[in-house]
């Protein structure tokens, strides 16, 4: 890692006793953000290419995988169910709360099953009534149920005008009531159908309502404590993995490290190489489908109660701050409306003013540089400030550039993050003490000795 040193910062900052304050960009100053930018940053000096061991499949019983196996066994013991509002039926399959695609998939499957159940229920209603009064038009009764007037002394009867029975004996004495000997199977079937209807109906509506609940959580909650927790846990796990892999070191038989520029193999004991490999390994682990689905396995989500408490707390506080901001905004508007007489630029907010200024400056630059038609100035010295853009070999014209990859590789926000990652240290020095050191030739004279602050930045 090269250390570029620039001196900047408050020039007139003079203090009595602080001899120096040092700002150093401490580059392995992790957290996902820093880490993510560590890899490309090392690309300028020595890009370590991580080649995953190709022979892992051929010898699956090497100690590393076994060790991981053991670890997995341990992890399974303390695996906690992932929390959710409406996907509880899935049990241990519930994905991590920040795994949106997983959550949506489960919600979709669950809704589909729910709809299917309701469809079954609907179909059961559609079935022609087994024994029902002849009218198939409308019946208040549920399917399979018999009208009460049809049950006489526990026996099922059908009250029918005999005239409606064209083929029956008109002279029968059983005018009106036809006593039926209930067939032994059919009542059981009707009961069974009622039961089935109940089950399908309950099942379907339960699933659908649960899906709806989960969908509301996913779409209408602005702040989801579980999701935030999961994100931070993932970050932390990533950090821990890097620490782990860094100290584990590199097994030269498994991993080969090559210089990206010329392909010469590098020693695996250089700290930078170790860092890059640890980073790459941690990234590989984070990309593991199981980890991506469930998050770090040992993560224990907060309880539902705490979830609710946090949510309530947030809602209260957010409203409080929002009100505060509203009041401030209103007062500013009021002031503006009072002093409306001074029209023009002063009316605009600071932001707009700056914007106009900047636009002007930019136009000015465009105009001036066009006039000058500048020869391509090479300021190679300044390229040290941040790494220059290196395009892939197959781009021959500006329009070949893949904007998305370049944007993600050289994201200006990432560059900015890199530049603003400082570590500030205060180094005290003894003051030439009056009581204990009456005469010292070396140190400056008595009294406060101001020294400038040194802000040193390394990255």
């Amino acid at each position: 890692m090269q250390h570029h040193t620039t001196r900047s910062g408050p020039k007139n900052g003079k203090i009595d006793h602080v001899r120096s304050i040092i700002l150093t960009a401490n580059w392995p100053h992790f957290n996902s953000r820093t880490l993510a930018r560590n890899l490309p940053s090392s690309a300028t000096t020595e890009m370590a290419v991580y080649t995953p061991p190709s022979d892992t499949n051929s010898n699956p019983d090497h100690p590393h995988s076994q060790e991981e196996h053991d670890k997995d066994d341990n992890d399974i013991k303390k695996f906690y169910l992932r929390p959710s509002l409406g996907l509880k039926l899935w049990g241990p399959l519930v994905p991590a709360p920040d795994n949106l695609s997983g959550l949506y998939t489960l919600v979709a499957v669950q809704s589909a099953v729910g709809i299917f159940a309701l469809w079954r229920l609907k179909r059961l209603y559609r079935l022609p009534p087994l024994r029902r009064t002849a009218t198939h038009t409308k019946s208040e009764l549920a399917f399979g149920e018999l009208p009460s007037e049809m049950i006489v002394k526990g026996k099922t009867t059908i009250r029918k005008d005999i005239a409606d029975f064209p083929t029956l004996n008109r002279f029968s004495t059983t005018h009106g009531d036809i006593v039926l000997a209930p067939p032994p199977i059919i009542p059981r079937q009707t009961r069974f159908i009622t039961f089935r209807k109940l089950v399908w109906g309950l099942f379907g509506s339960l699933l659908l309502s649960q899906s709806l609940l989960e969908l509301t959580r996913l779409n209408f909650l602005k702040y989801d404590p579980w999701c935030d927790e999961m994100k931070s846990v993932r970050d932390k796990k990533f950090f821990n993995n890097i620490v782990k892999y860094y100290h584990e070191g590199i097994d030269p038989t498994k991993i080969k490290v090559k210089d990206a520029m010329n392909g010469t193999p590098l020693s695996t004991n250089i700290p930078e190489v170790k860092q890059s490999v640890a980073l790459a390994r941690a990234q590989v682990e984070a990309q593991n489908p199981i980890i991506r689905w469930f998050g770090p396995l040992e993560y224990k989500p907060m309880s539902f109660n705490e979830y609710l408490n946090r949510m309530e707390f947030h809602l209260d506080m957010f409203e409080f701050f929002q009100n505060k901001r509203n009041i401030r905004e209103n007062s500013i508007e009021l002031i503006n409306s009072i002093s409306q007489s001074s029209a023009g630029l002063e009316d605009l907010s600071e932001c707009k003013k700056l914007h106009l200024q900047n636009v002007e400056k930019r136009l000015h630059f465009l105009a001036s540089s066009k006039d000058a038609t500048p020869a391509p100035e090479k300021r190679r010295t300044n390229t040290m400030l941040s790494r220059g853009v290196v395009l892939p070999h197959d781009t021959n014209a500006p329009q070949d550039i893949d904007l998305d990859t370049i944007r993600s590789l050289y994201d200006p926000w990432m560059t900015l993050a890199l530049e603003t990652s400082l570590s500030i240290k205060f180094i005290p020095t003894t003051m030439p003490s009056h009581t204990k050191t009456p005469t010292t030739t070396d140190s400056p004279g008595p009294g406060p000795t101001p020294k400038a602050i040194t802000n040193e930045k390394t990255h």
């Binding site: 900047n358 003894t430 050191t437």
Partner: protein
Amino acid sequence: MLLRKIHLSQRLNKRQLFALNLSAWPTKPSHIRLLHDIRPQTSKFNAQQPDSVPGFPAGTPPRPPITPQSSPAKNNRGLMYSFIGISMVGLMLWYKSKSKKQKIPILAQSVWKEAIWQESDRMDYNYNESLRRYIETLEACDRFHMDPLSDDYTRIELKIAEMYEKLNILDEAQSIYQELLSRFFEALNVPGKIDESERGEVLRKDLRILIKSLEINKDIESGKKRLLQHLLLAQEEILSKSPELKEFFEKRKKKLSMIKDINRDPNDDFKTYVSEENIKFDDQGYMILDLEKNSSAWEPFKEEFFTARDLYTAYCLSSKDITAALSCKITSVEWMVMADMPPGQILLSQANLGSLFYLQAEKLEADLNHLEQKRKTEPDQELDMGTYIKALRFVRKNRDLCLERAHKCYDSVISFAKRNRKIRFHVKDQLDPSVAQSIALSTYGMGVLSLHEGVLAKAEKLFKDSITMAKETDFNELLAEAERELQKTSVLKAAKKEES
């Protein structure tokens, strides 16, 4: 033909299959009529299941009832509607998520590509031309009224600022940072302008630009003011998600009121935070983060936040306000533990706090000297002896307290390192250089304290230790200071020998 039909209709006994067959049945009216024409059409009876009526011969095939023909079609239509409904909802959600990421107009895209081309190694890093292209890209974006808070728009602006910096036009770069800063600040302050779920990310960007603009900034006072504004905003954001932080504020309030009430010494409850209780180790003895501690409220901007706080501390020092710097740093250390920052950062912060305490002690000592000198120069002028002694005692007490606390801070780091084998014997091996640096700084700090007390031998040893540590970890700034202090010590030692 009829036989087949009979065969089919027998199967219809199975109720659950019935509906299925119905939909599969070619529902030609004539076809059904064929089966049913024995019965009068007007009769309501035709819907009844024949086998339920006694007197019907057992083998008679049941007649399928005439169901309304529209029913399968209706069924399908219902299904279709639900599908349409679901896909509409899906589309809406997708669109909602898509619309957040505003696409950059194609015209601007091609100019942007040219800018990258100019900036790249192909054109030998032609920043001048590249800057022009970037400016044109931004103009194109403006023409299409792109959201100035969107990722791409700000990216181009940052790129322009970067180019300005590379061309050494620092004023312009600074004014772009200022504009971005004020835009973010305004957006964060106007309710409803930024989606609540994105506030964290926007704040993070805001803090990054803040730190960057302060690096170029020359004016301490305005920088301090701006830092305070933005830090307060970030703090509000954390507070809105962290009940723990609210508890912290309440506790502090209570403590303050207690101090006022009883007028007791507030100092005994000072504690250091570098301990096994706050820093977790993995099974191999390396420092890791605690997954179970919920620090999500501080995400995603906690690093920027603490860097900005450190900057504020430095600015306070620059304006000679050691007390403010001290209180800021004390809080920072405690919050860092709450936010579960990387262990190296916590160690370093604790060591830095020790340095600040030492500075405060030295300042108090200077005050003390000043008081004594004043008394010497004007021995009996309206100087009340009582108040003088009181003041003297107060200042002295405070100074001793500060020294003691500085000692505590440094000691906590050093003894923590000594207790843990992995840190003690493998300092150089640590992934995070700030671990080693904090230990070196603490050792050096202890040396400074010893020198201050006049224990020269101990100071010499400590300085030498810190020099070796600083050399190992390339901590050049400390190395220089430590060598200077060591020289001082040896001079003093020689002087002492001469005296005796």
